[in-house]
């Protein structure tokens, strides 16, 4: 019995370990967990915007151009205009449509899966050979090739895994997403929109905007980078609640690969947690006067890679420029704000809103940003090596500078390296005997999970339900319409008729909601209180009744 227990325990520990490994691996992939349920025709209004396109290729004798697009930012400012909700999902073929009897495709990178292609044929076009491909005009998307992504395409029963360099990549986050991933609406406005735009190669760019679309004149912030070599990683957006910067000031951290190495370095700012979880940072700074849109790019090399972190966009107090001056060819600006005084130093950037930043100059300029109260000359940080205009890819060595001692230590241990060899050999032996290869585990787990592939679809369905709950405005009185023209009858009744209109309930809703809420909460609290023993003991309903019965029987026995 003891051995069985041990085996069970070992298996349990292994499962825990393997699940941890898997979770870690999953964290490194690009998954749109929150959006995987979006592939329904009932997309919420406040859905993020995706757009991307694949290169044309031939699969199964069919030449494809693929394109898909989600749009749903009804209130958001979008390229200077309000666009209506729409969803487009197109794969175009230059060969005969009749040669395709079975066509599905899914996008691997984002966890999006087109479960049943027939559901989305409304915008699914297959052109004949004579047909002309017409993509929606988008002057902002020149045909550059870009980073790779994978697409599963099934043509006439044959499945292809396509790895393509996509031409462009376009992500946008509506206000809820921004709130979810970034911050909690510090300006008490309804809509923010952030999108990123990657072109590669060519005029490589990562562009991001966050704005309040209710106030089109206010552009919350904008960032821009000159190189894009990696996909963005929306799942790694972290919400930094404790960052309290200034109005109009934002900090955006992007994966290292996303930024040109030349942007690195030259930064000394922000909380430690940000330094710990970001690799490079783009820093956006709006002029304290909030009248000009200026750019600042900073880089920072931290511990982890592939994090995409946006810090708070600021407090409600505009920092006030105390004074600025030039010292050692650096423009130094001092700003008063909620959290003391901040100092910005740069060799080529105007501070104080008097000069607009010129992007190429900013990118290659020397710049530092740190918090410090100005009390005189002595407060300036002396001798910071990264004030040098030399740009680097790795952070300055913060460890010991005593290189000689390291070398001498290395010399001392040279003579006993064979001990290391033996130890490593033993470790390798044990490792090969007892530690399973990762590929082995992956293969086994994949073969197992492939039998439960329906789980993904179920998860997507549940996610769509959760998204609906999150994004639906339940305060609007619903009105049900009947489409009379769709009646199964020889007579066409024409238009729609109102079947159910709850606008009459609107005046009473607030009061009734209060009463219902009170009843619901009281019931829930009372039931929870009664169920408290079970909750604490982690048992079901039987525990409390068992205790009660035991008490009763004790009492009876006592009597």
């Amino acid at each position: 019995m003891k051995y069985i227990k041990r085996i069970v325990l070992l298996l349990f520990l292994f499962l825990v370990w393997s699940s941890g490994e898997k979770a870690e691996a999953a964290g490194q992939t690009f998954e749109f967990k929150h959006y995987s349920g979006m592939i329904t025709e009932t997309l919420p209004d406040d859905m993020p915007y995706y757009f991307w396109s694949l290169n044309s290729s031939e699969y199964g004798g069919v030449y494809f151009d693929s394109f898909f697009e989600f749009r749903s930012i009804p209130k958001a400012k979008w390229w200077g205009s309000n666009r209506p909700y729409s969803i487009n999902w197109n794969i175009s073929s230059r060969t005969f449509a009749s040669s395709i009897s079975d066509l599905t495709w899914s996008v691997g990178n984002f966890g999006l899966t087109l479960r049943d292609s027939t559901s989305y044929y409304s915008n699914f076009d297959l052109y004949t050979e004579e047909g002309q491909l017409i993509y929606p005009a988008n002057p902002y998307v020149p045909p550059y090739t870009g980073p790779t992504c994978t697409v599963s395409l099934k043509v006439n029963g044959v499945e292809y895994t396509i790895t393509e360099r996509y031409q462009h990549y376009f992500l946008s986050y509506s206000s809820d997403s921004v709130r979810l991933y970034f911050f909690d609406n510090p300006f008490t406005v309804d809509y923010y929109d952030l999108y990123t735009y990657v072109l590669y190669p060519g005029p490589q760019a990562v562009v991001g905007y966050i704005w309040d679309s209710e106030n089109p004149d206010f552009l919350g912030s904008r960032f821009y980078s000159g190189l894009a070599e990696s996909r963005l990683h929306p799942e790694s957006f972290d919400y930094a609640s404790n960052c309290d910067l200034y109005f109009g000031t934002g900090v955006l951290a992007l994966p290292a690969k996303l930024l040109a190495p030349s942007y690195s370095g030259l930064i000394d700012l922000l909380p430690d947690e940000m330094k710990a979880c970001t690799d490079y940072i783009i820093y956006r700074y709006l002029s304290p006067s909030a009248s000009t849109n200026d750019y600042i790019f900073l880089g920072h090399t931290g511990e982890k890679l592939d994090y995409f972190l946006l810090m708070n966009w600021g407090s409600r107090v505009i920092p006030v420029l105390d004074h600025n001056r030039v010292r050692n060819n650096l423009v130094v600006g001092y700003f008063d704000s909620l959290k003391g005084q901040w100092v910005i130093e740069s060799d080529s950037i105007g501070i104080g809103g008097s000069n607009d930043f010129v992007v190429p100059e900013v990118v290659f300029s020397t710049l530092s940003f740190y918090q410090q109260r100005y009390t005189g000359e002595s407060d300036l940080r002396p001798g910071l090596s990264y004030y040098s205009p030399v740009l680097y890819n790795t952070p300055p060595d913060s460890g010991s500078d005593d290189g000689e001692s390291d070398d001498s230590l290395g010399d001392e241990i040279t003579g006993i390296k064979w001990v290391d060899n033996i130890l490593f050999g033993i470790a390798d032996l044990f490792s090969s005997l007892f530690v399973p290869r990762k590929s082995f585990l992956d293969k086994k787990i994949n073969s197992l999970t492939s039998r439960f592939s329906f789980w993904q679809s179920m998860t997507a369905t549940v996610n769509s339900f959760v998204t609906f709950l999150k994004n639906t405005d339940f305060t609007e009185p619903p009105v049900l319409m009947l489409d009379l023209s769709a009646a199964n009858s020889t007579i066409n009744y024409g238009l729609s008729a109102c079947a159910l209109d709850f606008t009459w309930y609107e005046p009473y809703k607030e009061d009734v909601d209060i009463i219902l809420s009170a009843v619901l909460w009281l019931t829930f609290i009372w039931n929870s209180f009664r169920n408290l023993p079970n909750i604490i003991n982690g048992t079901g309903g039987s525990f409390a009744s068992a205790v009660v019965n035991a008490d009763k029987s004790d009492r009876k026995g006592g009597k």
């Binding site: 329904t40 005997l433 609007e476």
Partner: protein, 82 residues
């Protein structure tokens, strides 16, 4: 090698068992969701949804808590040295 051999046996058993499970597809016509969400929207309008969602979240939280406690208790019982 050793652990892999054990795992091979384990996964072999699991795979064999799972092979008896019929192929299940979960493909729901999206038009169903439109109707379902319409009904849900009506219900959501009539009910104080903030309260309902809050209570639902608490119920789920309690159940997760109970599950974790149960799991810990089970592991504790399985520990051979205790």
């Amino acid at each position: 090698m050793i652990v892999e051999a054990i795992l091979n046996i384990f996964f072999g058993i699991v795979n064999t068992l799972s092979s008896f499970i019929p192929n299940v597809s979960w493909s729901v016509d999206s038009s169903f969701f439109s109707a379902f969400y319409s009904m849900l929207q009506i219900a959501g309008y009539l009910l104080p949804m903030q309260t309902v969602i809050g209570i639902l979240e608490l119920v789920i939280l309690f159940n997760i808590f109970k599950t974790v406690i149960s799991l810990l208790k089970t592991v504790w019982q399985l520990l051979p040295m205790l």
